[in-house]
């Protein structure tokens, strides 16, 4: 006899949640393709392929049901997030290696789904960034800024084997990200308004990049509407990032970029809606989520401005992941009837 009440359930399965997250990434990815060509799609394919193979192998070794844990979709989410975070013209083995590390060291070493301490995608990204700083800072120039408009074949060529293309083509295709560019130019004592006249800057953030951010924003709003993520994290993160950059901007607008630039640049929007909202490695209490978001916002700004790297999302998230158990235990909500 079983006593398993409640007998009724009404919950989306883990797979549904994860596939909705993938769905929410699609507008951003579509705009990515629009602005930068098909490179990102190739990376996503490579990442998906690697994650399925690697996870299947690990699950087989761990004697866990392969189909179930592949179909839960969490591996794919991590792989896609990594694929859209790395430069779209990085050689093919970067994303393959990154995905492999992300899924094995970021997820299965800790016990697989539900047990990872760190955000797997950000762990993979951080390892890549530390190991291959040069490749990881070579970003593609938006299509419409390149004089000889390159075709998708060139993108495949550069991803598969960069020696297939002439050095000039590669140089013409790549540049630093706006955040990176500001950082290097500021050391040359250029005023910010001059720096931002460079062609890679767009309306608010980087040209093309700001468009992608808007795509992620749309996806994030969809996730909020579907109640896949709670509002606490994105709101706390974005407002803390906005406020801290506003303070610095109002003190010295010549050295510090505008708050809107910070919000629309780099991985801010992706981070707000897709990365810090990973439930496994984040806090669970509402208050904890707010503290977590605020802390990451501050850290991102600090690393961008004072750190050695132009973008700080990955390190900020990983650093705060360490504090999640502490945050959770300190922010237990008041229980009904308790003081």
């Amino acid at each position: 006899m079983e006593n398993r009440s409640p007998y009724i359930v009404d919950a989306p399965s883990v797979s549904v949640i994860m596939f909705k997250v993938l769905l929410a990434l699609i507008p951003g990815i579509a705009l990515y393709v629009y602005a930068f060509g098909l490179g990102v799609i190739i990376n996503i394919f490579l990442a998906s392929f690697t994650v399925i193979l690697t996870e299947s192998a690990i699950l087989a070794i761990r004697k866990l049901p392969i189909k179930v844990f592949i179909l839960d979709g969490s591996g794919l989410v991590a792989a896609w997030l990594l694929a859209i975070s790395i430069p779209s013209i990085a050689p093919w083995w970067i994303i393959v290696l990154g995905t492999l590390l992300c899924i094995s060291f970021g997820k299965h070493v800790y016990g697989g789904l539900g047990y990872n301490l760190f955000n797997p995608a950000m762990l993979g990204y951080a390892i890549l960034l530390i190991s291959f700083p040069l490749i990881m800072s070579q970003w593609q120039i938006p299509n419409n800024l390149i004089e000889n408009n390159i075709d998708w074949l060139d993108q495949i060529k550069i991803i598969m084997n960069s020696s297939l293309l002439s050095k000039e083509t590669i140089d013409a295709m790549s540049s630093a990200t706006p955040l990176d560019y500001i950082k290097t130019q500021l050391t040359l004592h250029q005023p910010l308004n001059i720096i931002q006249q460079n062609k890679i800057f767009g309306f608010l953030g980087g040209k093309g990049l700001e468009l992608i951010s808007l795509g992620y924003l749309a996806g994030g709003l969809y996730l909020l509407k579907e109640k896949i993520i709670s509002w606490h994290l994105p709101v706390a993160f974005l407002s803390s990032l906005f406020l801290i950059s506003l303070i610095f901007y109002s003190i010295a607008p010549d050295t510090y970029a505008s708050p809107l630039f910070h919000v629309m640049s780099g991985g801010s929007i992706l981070c707000a809606f897709f990365i810090i909202t990973d439930p496994v490695s984040g806090p669970t209490t509402p208050k904890g989520k707010i503290y977590f978001g605020i802390a990451i916002g501050l850290l991102v700004f600090i690393i961008r401005i004072f750190g050695g790297y132009p973008e700080g999302v990955a390190f900020a998230v990983l650093l705060m992941n360490i504090f999640v158990p502490l945050i959770d235990s300190l922010t237990q909500p008041r229980i009904f009837g308790h003081k």
């Binding site: 006593n3 866990l64 049901p65 189909k67 179930v68």
Partner: protein, 185 residues
């Protein structure tokens, strides 16, 4: 140089004072070790450990004379708790002292009992009622199931009855589910 030295010395003295003060002020008066060990032991008082009762065994553990795995009624769980308390490595129950059995209580066959009082004298918790030449009976709620009353009985009228689960003592079991059972169903 001198300033640095003075600062360090000052800090050392200050911290030392704070530590010393808190050691006195916040001293935790824990139970003596024997009482803490005794609290873990199941108080069956059966003597299977080789000591005449739970307290003597607890004393022996505290002195380091006895091992932590000599108590069959406590079983592995008890040994684990003792290992944790004593800060030693867990050892499974030493089966030379007996096996862990389901909790039982003694039952006197009242038609056979001759009223010799021997079992009453053997009972470590005074759970047997009766007087000389009177039939004896066991207070089941107080019986620890130590079985010490069995050997003295000259007519073998005492048996151990396992305590069965009833609707009052019934417990919810650990949920059974299978994560592997995913592809079939």
């Amino acid at each position: 140089m001198i300033t640095a030295l003075l600062v360090m010395i000052f800090l050392a003295v200050l911290l030392g004072l704070i530590l010393g003060y808190s050691a006195i002020k916040f001293k935790v008066d824990g139970d003596p070790m024997v009482a803490r060990i005794d609290a873990i032991l199941p108080q069956t008082q059966c003597g299977q450990c080789g000591y005449p009762g739970c307290k003597p065994y607890a004393t022996a553990i505290a002195k380091g004379e006895a091992d932590i795995n000599q108590c069959p009624p406590g079983g592995d769980t008890g040994a684990k708790a003792l290992a944790e308390l004593m800060g030693v490595e867990f050892k499974p129950l030493n089966q030379e002292h007996g096996l862990q059995k389901p909790k039982s209580v003694a039952l006197i066959d009242e038609s056979t009992c001759i009223g010799c009082t021997l079992c009453i004298q053997a009972c470590p918790v005074d759970a047997i009622l009766g007087a000389a030449k009177q039939m004896h009976t066991i207070i089941a709620s107080e019986c620890t199931g130590c079985e010490l009353c069995l050997p003295p009985c000259p007519v073998d009228c005492i048996t151990m009855e396992p305590v069965l689960e009833n609707s009052q003592s019934w417990k919810w079991k650990y949920p059974v589910y299978n994560i592997q059972n995913t592809t079939g169903a």
